[in-house]
Structures are given as structure tokens and as C-alpha cells.
């Protein structure tokens, strides 16, 4: 466990010392929240209310965890740092924990920072905001697992396209953050409900609204995706490890 923590500490430093990571991971969700709140203040109709928008944007922000994690792993593969580490007595579990553990506090801190910014913009304080951070944990695991999966399978250039563009767009469009997916309906709504992002957002909104009891169905979907993707990610990582 000590060796896994050493690798985890290194990985956290690599991510947090990258100014681009800080801008996109922490800054971009805040910019979005501020921008949409400003738009709302200038239109008479309720489009982007903070109590709906802030919990939703916390989930959108988590998509950047995949990008950070996948970029780090794929770069460690291409720079041969991982190859060097594979010749040391580190065990497979040390790598898995080393690459996933540091992402959890970063993801939860990002959620908390987004919500604090929401409070500054006028979001009503309630202890349920803490619950909102907590229910983002399984959603964080989804994005962290996607990072491990993509980092194990793709090159760093491919990671930029898949995690940076595709995943953030999928999350942005199908999560129901900016609009109700039911309003679009049809195939769009069906895809949104088949993917985990919509359920993660509904869960975060319910946690803030105090209606978590009636949103448990969303929790099971998110947990199922988290478990499935984690298994796939561990398999992909171990596979590329053997291939080396």
C-alpha cells in the first residue's frame, strides 16, 4: 500500500502542477456556471436556475477527470516511465491504486469548489450540498475508470480526441444539464437514459433538492456503470501491462 501511495502522490503532483489541467478542470466549469447564471439574470424565463444548474455542472466537470487521468497514463506509457516501473517490484494493484486514488479527492474537491462558487452566485446554502458532493462519488468513479481505460488503450493524441472532445460532448449533451432531455424525447432521450451521465446529474440535483429517496433508481444505474467500467479499465490496464 505504501508503494501505491507513493505513485498516487506522484500522479497527483503531475496533474495539479499542470496549469492547463487547473484551467479546464476547475476553471472551465466555474466559467460555465458564471456565464449561464449571467444569461439567466437577463432573461425573464427560468432557463438556468442555480439549484438545477450547479449540481449538473459538478457532473460535467467530472468529465475532465477522465482527460487528466488518461493523458497522464498514456504519456507515462509513451515516455517509458511505466516501462521503467514495470521492472521494479511494484505489483499490478499498486499501479491501479496509484492511478485511481489521487483522482478521487481531486474530483470531490472540484465538485465542492463548483458548489462554493454557486453559493457566491446566489445558490442557497443547505447541508444537503455536502450530500451533493458525496453522491458525486460513484459518478467520479465512472470518469476515473474511463480515464484508466482510455489511458491504457489509446495514445496521448487519441486521448485528447476521445476524452477531451468526445466524452465532454457526450456528457454535455446527454446529461440534461442545460435542458431537459425529455423535451427532446425520442431516440435522444433513450440514449441519454442509457448512458450514466443523465442519471448522475439527476442524482446530484436530487441530493441538493432533498429528494434523494425517490432518486435511488438513478444511483443503481450510476453504480452499475461505475462497477462495469472499473472492471473494463482494470482489464485494459493489465492487458497493456502484459503486452509490455
Amino acid at each position: 500500500m505504501r508503494k501505491a501511495m507513493l505513485l498516487a502522490k506522484r500522479n497527483a503532483k503531475e496533474i495539479l502542477r499542470d496549469p492547463l489541467n487547473l484551467f479546464f478542470g476547475l476553471g472551465f466549469p466555474l466559467v460555465l456556471l458564471g456565464l449561464l447564471t449571467a444569461i439567466q439574470s437577463n432573461v425573464p424565463k427560468e432557463l438556468f436556475t442555480l439549484d438545477q444548474l450547479a449540481p449538473g455542472i459538478t457532473v460535467f466537470g467530472l468529465a475532465f477527470m477522465s482527460l487528466f487521468s488518461a493523458t497522464l497514463i498514456s504519456k507515462d506509457r509513451t515516455s517509458a516511465l511505466l516501462l521503467r516501473l514495470y521492472t521494479t517490484p511494484l505489483r499490478p494493484v499498486d499501479y491501479i491504486l496509484g492511478y485511481t486514488l489521487p483522482m478521487v479527492p481531486i474530483a470531490l474537491a472540484q465538485t465542492a469548489i463548483t458548489l462554493v462558487f454557486g453559493l457566491i452566485l446566489g445558490l442557497t446554502w443547505t447541508p444537503r450540498l455536502l450530500l451533493c458532493v458525496l453522491v458525486n462519488l460513484p459518478a467520479s468513479l465512472i470518469f476515473i475508470a474511463l480515464g484508466l481505460l482510455c489511458g491504457s488503450l489509446l495514445t496521448d493524441k487519441q486521448v485528447g480526441g476521445v476524452c477531451g472532445a468526445l466524452l465532454t460532448n457526450l456528457t454535455g449533451w446527454f446529461a440534461g444539464i442545460w435542458f431537459d432531455v425529455a423535451l427532446v424525447g425520442g431516440v435522444f432521450a433513450a440514449i441519454a437514459k442509457a448512458l450514466p451521465f443523465y442519471h448522475a446529474v439527476e442524482l446530484a440535483k436530487a441530493a441538493y433538492a432533498g429528494t434523494l429517496g425517490s432518486a435511488l433508481a438513478h444511483l443503481w444505474v450510476v453504480l452499475a456503470w461505475a462497477v462495469g467500467l472499473s472492471v473494463a479499465a482494470v482489464w485494459a490496464f493489465l492487458r497493456q501491462m502484459r503486452k509490455n
Binding site: K3, E14, R17, L83, L85, T87, T88
Partner: protein
């Protein structure tokens, strides 16, 4: 005592036999250079010896430990400085060294002792607090070797350590490698003939997955009737390609 004893080491990838029944012995404290054209089997051999790839046949003993049956034990004896610089770019030089020392099981005090000693030996003091990613190619190579040495290995694999370096940086790194001679066993792969001749005690030339010739640079030249190592290498490589 022999540091490395290779017997019938074989690796196949589908129909391709990358390494074909390799036999080789390397003495303790020896610097052994492995030469070969691309695809000769050098990298696959190094990967098998460093437990990255499992052999399909034969075995190799590193200080008496089998790479097949005792891979975990073998990993405690060796370190690799890969062809790529393989450093953590956002970490400082000191943090890179601390990471590797910690992975080898060293505590805080022991890590500090090793870093102090290595910094002096490799002249890293002036860059200890700089991020590794901001260093020049020469310094990154030096750090790469330091990250291998901090594991306190008995056997060190240097995979093209001076690839892409300018003359001055290469010369400085040669000094570092010369300084390590005798302390530990080193296996060096390189495409630079002068590097092999300058640094190694013996040279092995590989071709088509087999060891074509082993000896000192002088012995290789004599065996091929040539006056330079490069000509000797070309003669052997062409013979293997027939």
C-alpha cells in the same frame, strides 16, 4: 561469479522468432555491450532479462535467480534505464529520485542518503530542485540513469543511453558510465560503435535473434579481418542477413 547466465533463451511472436536459443554469460562487474541492427533481438533479450517479457524457451539466471521462476526476486536485483528518458516531467529531479527510492523500499532517511550520494556522483546537485521536464536532453539522460541507480541494483540495463545527445552531453554521460564500471554489472545496447568500443569490456553482436559473435572489440576485428569495430559489425550483420 557470473552475474548473468543465459541458456537457450527463446522468444517467438507468432511465426517470428525474435530471439533464438540464446546462450551467453556475463561476469560480475563487467560492462557488456549488445550490438545489432534493428530487429536483431536486442530489445527482446533485454525485456526477457528484465522480466518484462516471459521467454518461450530456455531460461536466464541473474545472480542465480531465474527470470521465469523468481521474477519478483530478479526485479530486486536489476534496474533499467530505458531508451526514452522515462522521467516524471512535472516532478523535480529530487522528487523523481525520491519516488524511485521509495518504490525500492527505502525510507525517508535512506532516500535522502541515496540522493545525496548519487547527486554527488552524477553531478546532479545543481538541478535537484528543477522540474525534470524542463531539463536538457543530456540532463534528462543523466537523471534517467540516476533513477535506475537509486534502486541500488546489482545489474543495470542501459538501453541506448546517449541516443540523440550532442557530443558534449554524450562525453559527459560516458564519464558517468565509466565511473560505474566495476561497481555493478552493466548491459549496454547501442547503435554507436565508438560508444561500445569506448565503454565495454566485451561486445556481443546479435543478428536474426542469435548471438553472432562475442568478444572484445579487438577480438571481433580480428575474427572478421577488419580494422574497425564498425567494419567488423557490418561484416557480421551482412553474414547473418544472408
Amino acid at each position: 561469479m557470473n552475474a548473468i547466465e543465459i541458456k537457450g533463451l527463446t522468444k517467438r511472436y507468432g511465426d517470428l522468432t525474435a530471439v533464438n536459443s540464446l546462450d551467453l554469460t556475463v561476469r560480475q562487474g563487467e560492462l557488456f555491450a549488445l550490438l545489432g541492427v534493428n530487429g536483431a533481438g536486442k530489445t527482446t533479450t533485454i525485456k526477457m532479462l528484465s522480466c518484462l517479457t516471459r521467454p518461450d524457451g530456455g531460461d536466464a539466471l541473474l545472480l542465480g535467480k531465474s527470470v521465469i521462476r523468481e521474477a519478483e526476486e530478479v526485479k530486486k536485483l536489476l534496474a533499467v534505464s530505458p531508451q526514452e528518458t522515462a522521467v516524471a516531467p512535472k516532478l523535480t529531479v529530487r522528487e523523481n529520485l525520491e519516488l524511485m527510492a521509495g518504490i525500492s523500499g527505502a525510507g525517508k532517511e535512506e532516500s535522502k542518503r541515496r540522493i545525496d550520494a548519487l547527486s554527488g556522483q552524477l553531478g546532479l546537485e545543481e538541478v535537484l530542485i528543477r522540474p525534470a521536464g524542463k531539463l536538457s536532453g543530456g540532463w534528462q539522460r543523466r537523471l534517467s540513469i540516476a533513477m535506475a541507480l537509486i534502486l541500488e541494483p546489482k545489474i543495470l540495463f542501459l538501453d541506448e543511453p546517449t541516443l540523440g545527445l550532442d557530443v558534449l552531453a554524450r562525453s559527459a554521460l560516458w564519464e558517468v558510465i565509466r565511473g560505474l564500471k566495476g561497481e555493478l554489472t552493466m548491459i549496454l545496447t547501442t547503435h554507436y560503435m565508438e560508444e561500445a568500443e569506448e565503454l565495454s569490456d566485451r561486445i556481443g553482436v546479435m543478428g536474426a535473434g542469435q548471438l553472432l559473435q562475442v568478444g572484445t572489440a579487438a577480438e571481433l576485428k580480428a575474427a572478421t579481418g577488419t580494422d574497425t569495430l564498425e567494419k567488423a559489425f557490418i561484416a557480421l550483420a551482412k553474414e547473418a542477413a544472408k
